[in-house]
């Protein structure tokens, strides 16, 4: 069963010439208990899509249902089964971490005692117990994001939306967040996650939808997407220019396609199936033939390659950013 379904979702901002088709006919289907990564650069329409699915924004056309409830007609039912962690931490800076969680829990219809217990559990789970009674103003960026995610989990939602959960986090906080997300998924939560980071989608998502200019331009598992740009390659740099022809002959025999040669850098690249085992074979044969090599590697295409191949432009700059004090 699909936990999230969207058909032909459209959202248009502005009027006339200034009109932006932020989301331009998006179809999605996320099976229960799986993770969909919505991958795209800044301005692709990820946030707008998530806001429509989370009932914060009304689609201009198309329809969507979450947990079987229509996001427009049955919005309140959707709200009672989802959690949303937006792109920016939506917590009250002037309340403490605990006060935030208790408030959201009460608004989620928990009684006073249950709300306090739920808050304690989440504070513990997200490593915020020590900071629980400090106002959020004093939290670091990573702590705010964790509190925001904890807020999204107040009602133990079956379906969770996370909009760029690690954007702006330092590498350590990012890895911590990945662990938290993996934990949630293990418990069976259906997750729709947006990201600008290819490795993040690769790491966390079962299936990926690549979005650009409000449209889905590719979808599949990370492996399927990688296949679209070709499979693995062996890359060899030989020591002597004279050895190139002999090396190419060996690769023709051992690998699975026509090698390409860059004589200037003495680099030979050849498609290969079978991974590491074939790499060992190649190394052995080179050794037997007395060909010295400077470098040899098995290269797998990254999702960066996928994005470049699909759109003709690179996705984004690499993750960076300092954690706020």
């Amino acid at each position: 069963m699909n936990a999230i379904v969207a058909e032909g979702l459209v959202k248009i901002y502005g009027k006339g010439k200034a009109q932006v088709r932020a989301v331009d006919g998006v179809d999605l289907a996320v099976a229960q208990g799986t993770v969909l990564g919505l991958l795209g650069p800044n301005g692709a329409g990820k946030t707008t899509t998530v806001r429509m699915l989370a009932t914060l924004l009304r689609p201009d056309s198309g329809r969507a249902s979450v947990g079987g409830h229509d996001v427009v007609r049955d919005a309140q039912a959707v709200r009672s089964i989802i959690g949303l962690s937006g792109q920016y931490a939506a917590v009250d800076e002037n309340l403490t971490g605990r006060e935030n969680l208790v408030l959201f829990a009460r608004l989620y219809r928990l009684g006073a005692a249950d709300a306090r217990r739920r808050a304690d559990t989440l504070l513990e789970q997200f490593g915020l117990t020590d900071a629980a009674d400090r106002v959020v103003k004093t939290y670091s960026g990573g702590m705010r994001r964790r509190l925001d995610l904890a807020s999204a989990l107040i009602g133990t939602p079956r379906i969770l939306f996370m909009d760029e959960p690690t954007t702006g986090l330092d590498p350590r906080s990012r890895l911590g967040m990945w662990d938290v997300i993996r934990g949630l998924v293990k418990e069976g939560t259906t997750l729709l996650l947006t990201t600008q980071y290819l490795e993040e989608a690769d790491e966390l998502a079962d299936r990926i939808a690549v979005v650009d200019h409000g449209r889905i331009i590719a979808r599949g598992t990370a492996d399927e997407l990688k296949k679209q740009v070709g499979g693995e390659r062996i890359e060899v740099v030989v020591d002597q220019r004279d050895a190139i022809d002999h090396a190419v002959a060996i690769l023709r025999r051992d690998a699975d396609g026509e090698p390409t040669v860059d004589r200037h850098t003495r680099r030979i690249t050849s498609p290969v199936n079978g991974g590491a085992q074939r790499l060992i074979q190649v190394v052995r044969d080179f050794d037997e033939a007395g060909i010295k090599i400077d470098d040899i590697a098995l290269r797998r295409p990254t999702l960066d390659d996928v994005f470049l191949a699909l759109t003709g432009h690179a996705a984004v700059e690499k993750p960076a950013g300092e954690e706020a004090a």
Partner: protein
């Protein structure tokens, strides 16, 4: 219905909890009013004779109360814009709570906040010899009118707060509205001293009505320029104004709040 009420109180409680966490806001509001009291009571007061005699300071204090109540809409607007821009409204809107509670809670918390400010101001009025010369019933009726008007102003604040892009713009816009209605009124000077056109405005102005109503209820000097409805029925005029403002701005605010999702 009980859910809406419960959620409203939760939101109001949250708003009030924030007040001591941002003490600057309340402290400056109070300091500013005390400055007004001192300025008018000791500096300008001597130059403003009341037509029928009486103590200027007793004349002044009801005006100061009304002015503060009017300015309170600025606080409401700031709170609303801040919640909108910081994404807190999104959080609330993604919860299965009563939707009306977010703005209703804001008007309730600001009512309590205003009542608190009023206590401080009345204490400072007492220090400069302002007194209520009637009974406890009239005193409470005057306070009731002030809070009723505060409730109307809170709805204006909510509507405004949802319509401006930033807290700063909201602050500017609300001052643009609130300054004329508080200063072109009978709050600080007897309306007789104003030129005719402004005098008419000052007579019908809701802040004047509120000021005159509390002066009348508390037996403080209450000079008016000419006989007529505003002079003879300030209490009724205040209630009419309050009703009109709520009837206009509550639906506008609610509609705006609902349309955030469009």
């Amino acid at each position: 219905m009980t859910q809406a009420l419960g959620d409203t109180l939760l939101i109001a409680g949250r708003n009030l909890r924030r007040v001591p966490r941002i003490p600057e806001l309340a402290i400056f509001a109070i300091l500013q009013s005390i400055m007004f009291v001192l300025l008018f009571a000791f500096v300008f007061g001597g130059a403003i004779p009341l037509p029928d005699g009486g103590s200027y300071r007793e004349f002044l204090m009801p005006g100061i109360f009304a002015q503060n109540i009017a300015f309170a809409s600025v606080i409401t607007a700031i709170g609303m814009t801040d919640d909108l821009n910081k994404g807190i409204l999104d959080r609330f809107r993604s919860l299965p709570m009563a939707r009306s509670a977010v703005i209703a809670g804001r008007t309730v918390s600001d009512l309590v906040y205003n009542a608190g400010i009023l206590v401080v101001l009345m204490a400072s009025g007492f220090v400069v010899d302002w007194r209520v010369h009637t009974g406890i019933g009239e005193f409470l009726a005057g306070v009731g009118l002030l809070l009723l008007f505060a409730f109307a102003m809170a709805w204006i604040g909510v509507w405004l707060g949802l319509n401006v892009p930033t807290v700063e713009v909201g602050q500017q816009v609300s001052f643009l509205v609130v300054f004329p209605i508080t200063f072109l009124s009978n709050a600080f000077v007897p309306p007789q001293t104003l030129p005719p056109l402004l005098r008419t405005f000052a007579e019908w102005n809701p802040v004047s009505a509120l000021t005159a109503a509390t002066r009348q209820l508390w037996g403080n000097p209450n000079p008016f320029a000419a006989p007529g409805f505003p002079a003879e029925h300030p209490i009724e005029l205040t209630i009419i104004w309050t009703a009109v403002l709520i009837l206009i701005f509550a639906p506008l605010a609610i509609r705006k709040y609902q349309s955030i999702s469009r």
